[in-house]
């Protein structure tokens, strides 16, 4: 332990910490560009200069380790002057057109210049011009003029994914960041450099110029792309997800996510969404209201004996959906045939984040009870289909059409399906329940390690209004502005809060969708059962009493996920 004094505050910190880390521990932010907690220390931006007693010159806080008795000043006149000088140097060749730059609003350089900068420019000469709009691989566009040579992106490839793909060429003010000659960025994690770039040099081709950061609401969620369950923010404006960025969780994904996961929003916005419940009339699916769809399903289910019904759960659906489904199947339908379809892409995995299981909740589906007795699993269901044993196939949030044979076999049975997007099962369905996608409902996923994590409503379905989600910030909660953006504390965008039905920017499409557990509850109650769930939390609470592994978990404590019991 070392006793150090920072700005008059004396604390004991662990040996080996740097001044910057020690200061962070006691809530003092020292401005920095090149330092990133997950990367090695480069010490090249000089933004973190601080004054230390008995040291002849200012030192960089990111690379200087604490020693016992150290006295540090982060706000002395010398430091203030030095920061201004560093910013002035960086801005000599940096374009001063934040209004055009896509990083504006979440740019460290912009924030620091605003807080610590000199406030005016003395540089009247022509700035150095460098290539703009350089494509680096399929997803990233580089603007070399904006790069401040902090080398975070270079170190990310060298150290985190151990696949060096970027480097600097030239020297001085002619430095250019490039890929190796003839090579492209093709690492499956490459888009992480967009997030760690402190300025707007690296932009996502997909998101570039689409929206200002402050116009979007960032909602905490979980990536549905694979069994890792990376923690993410869904950035929403006008009821559309515009981008997905990683959310820090040191137990799961640290600061990162894969490129594939960033595009998992596309099905949510896509045109093939099912926008309201449908039933088949004269061979065509027509949109109806919920009562009609439910009563149609009720009459189909009433006409089938328990052994004539097969129930398919889903590793794409939440624990709550699967729990409600299995309870419905076992207690109301008394069906024995129940299973879910695994979506494993063998070989498509690595030992960083990406998992071969391409669904977010297969462990959860299994644990909450989508689990067949011997001889009643998926194989038996598919065989039974071939033997024409079933009258009804009930599919929740998945596509049972694994091949053409099954597709044709579905003609002979009644299909009831919950679906978010059109698929082949929907083609054959008698009743289609419009299902809420992962962004339109609340609930929990269990990742492959057994970590239960919460998803939240980001895109509003028809029956949810902004005021139901909008929690006003408490007075006194806002911290002083230090230039660090804590996305967890971002308020809902004012466009979200104050829109009326007459504003085009607040009338994005709302779909008449419901989470599956809710539909199943209504269905079960129409078949004479007494399900009393009104919120996802109610279902979760029942899971914590009914399922041994989930005991002791509480819905409120899922902010960073909670491990299930394993023994």
């Amino acid at each position: 332990m070392a006793k150090i004094t920072i700005d008059g505050k004396t604390v004991e910190v662990k040996d080996g910490l740097t001044i910057l880390q020690a200061a962070q521990e006691i809530g003092i932010d020292i401005p920095h560009f090149c330092y990133h907690p997950a990367l090695s220390i480069a010490g090249n931006c000089r933004m973190c200069l601080v004054e230390v007693e008995k040291m002849p010159k200012l030192v960089i806080a990111c690379a200087t380790r604490v020693t016992d008795g150290m006295v540090v000043y982060t706000k002395s006149e010398k430091v203030v002057k030095a920061r201004q000088a560093v910013l002035e140097f960086i801005l000599i060749n940096h374009p001063l057109d934040c209004p055009i730059c896509d990083e504006a609003g979440e740019c460290k350089l912009q924030n620091y210049t605003y807080i610590y900068g000199p406030g005016h420019s003395r540089f009247t000469e022509e700035k150095v011009h460098k290539p703009k709009r350089v494509p680096l691989g399929a997803n990233i566009v580089l603007d070399v003029e904006r790069c401040i040579m902090c080398s975070r992106c270079v170190r990310f490839f060298d150290e985190i994914v151990k696949d060096p793909q970027l480097t600097f060429t030239q020297r001085g003010d002619r430095v250019v960041l490039t890929t190796f000659p003839g090579k492209k960025l093709d690492n499956p994690y490459s888009m992480n450099i967009i997030d760690i770039c402190p300025v707007g040099a690296l932009t996502s081709r997909d998101f570039r110029f689409r929206e200002r950061t402050w116009n979007m609401t960032a909602i905490e969620s979980i990536c549905p792309g694979c069994a890792r369950g990376c923690n993410v923010y869904l950035w929403v404006r006008n009821n559309q997800i515009l981008r997905i960025t990683p959310r820090q969780n040191m137990e799961v994904n640290k600061y990162w996510m894969c490129d594939y996961g960033r595009f998992t929003y596309i099905p949510v916005n896509s045109d093939d969404r099912i926008k309201s419940p449908m039933v088949r009339r004269n061979g065509d699916l027509i949109e109806v209201d919920w009562e009609t769809a439910i009563s149609e399903a009720v009459s189909i289910l009433k006409n089938a004996k328990p052994n004539e019904i097969a129930v398919i759960g889903s590793p794409f659906a939440t624990n709550e959906d699967n729990f409600a489904l299995q309870k419905f199947a076992k207690t109301v339908l008394k069906a024995k045939y129940i299973d879910f379809i695994k979506h494993v892409k063998d070989g498509d995995e690595d030992n960083f984040l990406i998992r071969a299981d391409k669904t977010p909740n297969s462990l959860g589906a299994y644990l909450v009870g989508i689990r067949p007795g011997n001889g009643y699993g998926l194989d038996a269901i598919l065989n039974g289909l071939k033997e024409r044993k079933f009258k009804v196939i009930y599919v929740m949030d998945d596509d049972i059409v694994l091949d053409d044979e099954i597709y044709n076999l579905l003609d002979d049975v009644k299909v009831i399906v919950h679906a978010t997007n059109k698929n082949k099962t929907v083609d054959k369905a008698s009743v289609v329940f419009a299902s809420a996608s992962f962004a339109e409902k609340e609930g929990t996923f269990t990742n492959f390690e057994g970590r239960v994590q919460k998803i939240n409503i980001a895109v509003l379905p028809l029956n949810i209004e902004p005021y139901m989600l909008y929690k006003p910030r408490k007075f006194g909660e806002a911290k002083p502005n230090t230039g660090e953006i804590n996305k967890a504390e971002l308020a809902h965008a004012r466009l979200f809060k104050f829109g009326t039905p007459f504003d085009r920017w607040a009338s994005g499409e709302r779909r008449n969708v419901k989470p599956s557990w809710k539909v199943i509850t209504e269905l079960a109650n129409n078949l004479g059962a007494k399900f009393t769930y009104t919120t996802a939390k109610d279902v979760f609470e029942e899971i914590t009493t009914a399922v041994r592994e989930f005991r002791g978990l509480s819905y409120e404590n899922l902010k960073n996920g909670a491990m299930i019991k394993k023994d």
Partner: protein, 172 residues
């Protein structure tokens, strides 16, 4: 008589008029003299709408977008600052990418004239002098949809806005 209510003095009107005032007619003539005097003075009023008023450069009419006369390109870079500063949430900007040097342009730019309060903050914040308060004060619409002005109604050539642009330069 004077009494204090909440610390403020309340003045009581004098109710006792003198004889001349009570006679009524002298006061009437006094008033009419003022009225007749005005007849021979220059007129301030217009026969609106036959005669239209031309506001001075400092007037804040409806906000419009400036475009360059020669190139036909709007100055706006779709930074969204006007939309952010607008206290009435009247402006919606959707950006797009262009091959031009300015990189961004507004794919969609809409001002809801039912929301706009003509405060001029958008003009003040714009880094490109791309949105300015024009001298147009006649706005007619018959439903909510019409009141949302898109780029077709907002774009005005710089030459037509010269007075305001010069005024802004002078005041800077």
């Amino acid at each position: 008589m004077e009494q204090k209510i909440d610390g403020r003095a309340k003045i009581k009107r004098r109710s006792n008029l003198n004889l001349l005032e009570r006679l009524y007619l002298p006061e009437i003539f006094k008033g009419l003299t003022i009225t007749f005097r005005q007849i021979f003075k220059p007129k301030f009023t217009f026969e609106y709408p036959d005669v239209k008023w031309k506001p001075p450069a400092s007037f804040r009419g409806r906000p419009v977008l400036v475009y360059n006369d020669e190139t036909g390109v709007e100055r706006c870079v779709a930074c969204g600052l006007c939309a952010r500063v607008c206290p009435a949430l009247a402006i919606e900007v959707v950006a797009g990418e262009t091959e031009l040097d300015k990189e961004r342009y507004p794919k969609k730019f809409e001002i809801n004239m039912l929301r706009c309060i003509y405060c001029g903050l958008c003009e003040e914040v714009c880094p490109e002098e791309a949105i300015v308060m024009s001298d147009e004060y006649e706005l007619v619409f018959t439903n909510r949809e019409e009141a949302i002005f898109g780029k077709d109604k907002l774009l005005v050539p710089a030459s037509k806005l010269k007075e305001r642009l010069d005024f802004l330069k002078k005041m800077r």
